[in-house]
């Protein structure tokens, strides 16, 4: 099946996009009615992961730089927001200031990671970025002594919810007979951010900068001989990827109201990488799809516990273990069946043969 045709074919494009837009707008309400409010929360988180995965896709998918510590930028964004909008330092800066600030801080961290690793590629780069991710987490875990900055493993609580203008996302609002609970509000803010991330990714991809990234991925030496300043272009990839992560982190902190270093572990970096690889490295739509599926799949597998109860009259295998087992199995199967991802970056172009 050629999924791209639905979006590129002249006749289908408008129908497809209209349907997608309607579905996305109605989704939280449908979800709440069918699956319950906890699932509205899950799809909101899925949108955050779309942002994260698209950010990592710039680094890994476009520029070909394997980053195993990507969650660190999510952490930097989350802590930037949390520290400046919580009782921790008793400062409560507005979201509209913290959003760009968090993005900028994350971008600086992206360059800090990128600068010493410019000469590294592949396995070596993966190991250094993995170390970077851990360094950030360990710092966050230990910066409570001698001066308490991050509150250590206890994390930061009572983080301010988002407030846009006079509109607080932490309260329910009623419009046109529809009740928007806080989780609905966040869903729509995240939806806007995710859509903007997709648009930005696509525009970057089809630009001079995006081509330079792919050129470096395909052949760094040839790219430099063609006049691409590989140092700057790589740093730009790290900074852009980190920016996406930083913004997502700030949104995450305000949404949860609580963050601790535990939310930013190696497994989370790997999870985001899985979304990129499984979705289809380098393809924006595929990566977004991967993020949604990999956020929803572990949640769906939670139902394994109750199902065991129903079928076997008791819990035979610990649901948490079984969940990871099935999740791993799903990953292996998907990689075996579609090694280039669910929605690969580009198929071999087929020569058009005029009919008749």
């Amino acid at each position: 099946m050629n999924l791209d045709a639905l979006f590129t074919d002249r006749r289908w494009r408008w129908i497809t996009w209209g349907a997608v837009a309607l579905l996305l707008l109605a989704l939280p309400f449908i979800t709440e009615a069918v699956l319950g409010r906890s699932w509205v929360r899950i799809i909101a988180v899925a949108l955050l992961f779309v942002m994260l995965a698209l950010g990592l896709n710039i680094v890994v998918g476009f520029a070909g730089l394997l980053d195993l510590g990507y969650i660190a930028f999510f952490a930097v964004g989350a802590y930037s927001y949390a520290l400046l909008a919580s009782p921790q330092f008793a400062v409560h800066w507005p979201f509209m200031v913290l959003l760009p600030l968090g993005a900028a801080i994350a971008a600086v961290f992206g360059i800090l990671l990128g600068a010493p690793t410019l000469r590294l590629r592949g396995d070596y780069l993966a190991i250094v970025t993995l170390g970077f991710g851990e360094i950030i987490r360990v710092f966050l875990n230990n910066l409570n002594r001698p001066v308490n900055i991050t509150n250590g493993p206890q994390g930061i609580t009572l983080i301010d919810p988002l407030q846009i203008g006079g509109f607080s996302l932490a309260q329910s609002h009623t419009f046109a007979g529809l009740t928007f609970s806080p989780v609905h509000n966040y869903y729509f803010v995240f939806l806007v951010c995710a859509v903007l991330s997709i648009a930005l990714s696509l525009r970057l991809q089809n630009s001079r900068i995006g081509r330079a990234w792919v050129a470096i991925r395909d052949d760094e030496l040839a790219a430099s001989a063609m006049g691409i300043n590989t140092r700057n272009v790589k740093l730009l990839a790290f900074a852009m990827g980190a920016t996406f992560g930083g913004v997502a982190g700030g949104l995450f902190a305000s949404f949860q109201g609580f963050i601790s270093p535990e939310s930013f572990q190696l497994i989370d970096s790997i999870m985001v990488l899985c979304m990129v690889v499984l979705g289809g490295m380098g393809n924006v739509a595929g990566v977004a799809l991967g993020a949604v599926l990999l956020t929803a799949l572990p949640e769906a597998l939670r139902y394994i516990g109750p199902l065991q109860q129903r079928w076997f009259g008791g819990v035979i295998v610990d649901p948490a273990d079984l969940r990871m087992l099935l999740f791993g199995l799903a990953l292996v199967l998907m990689m075996l069946l579609r090694p280039e991802g669910l929605w690969p970056a580009r198929r071999r172009p087929v020569a058009a043969i005029p009919a008749g």
Partner: protein, 258 residues
Amino acid sequence: MPADNILLAASGIRKHFGGLAALSDVSITVRRGEIFGLIGPNGAGKTTLFNVLTGLAVPDAGTLIFDGHRIEGLKPHAVAGHGIARTFQNIRLFGSMTALENVMVGRHLRSHTGVLGAAFRTRAAVAEERAITRRAQELLDYCGLAARAGNLARDLPYGDQRRLEIARALATDPKLLALDEPAAGMNATETVALTALLKRIRSDGITLLLIEHDMKLVMALSNSVAVLDYGEKIAEGAPESVRRDPRVIEAYLGGDFA
């Protein structure tokens, strides 16, 4: 010979890899508008000289003056900025990109759109993107690849890949185009087409530096030829005189024939 007629002057270039002298004290002079052939047996140091020239290797000693600028030791992108473009002996295209996109990458150096321009699709960015596409299409056409624009570079036949490398290099608006064995692996028909293309590039005012094993091709095309052997230049001059040079004959045919 007036000095401004010289496009590239390499003097005393030395490059060692461990104990191996890849280049010892090599000097060449390339004049504007000519095709300069660089020949020599395998391992003579031709590609190393190319790498030094294009910034991919830093010389241990020696100077490179290109179009009035010292360029030895500059980064490859800076060398490209001064106007030297190259192709590679073992083709190095951007395989996952189409032929057109490969050439568009070549325009990177001569365009400016950054992240913000791309994000907001400013009028300047859109106009530049259109100009890049148009120029890339012209260059594909120039190199006889117009029909291949939409094909992925890695799917192209070998001869087309070689010509695509030339198109991509031309996109950087070079003053000097350095070609590392452009005819390698080509059949007779393809070589004839390549010869015509190289002559056309020269007549359009671009100087060519050519590494080639096909003697007939080099001798037919070049205005000047330099011969390298074991990292040393053993001859330089017009093709006819180089061909008769006893040291060249010895290097190519072995000592017994000298």
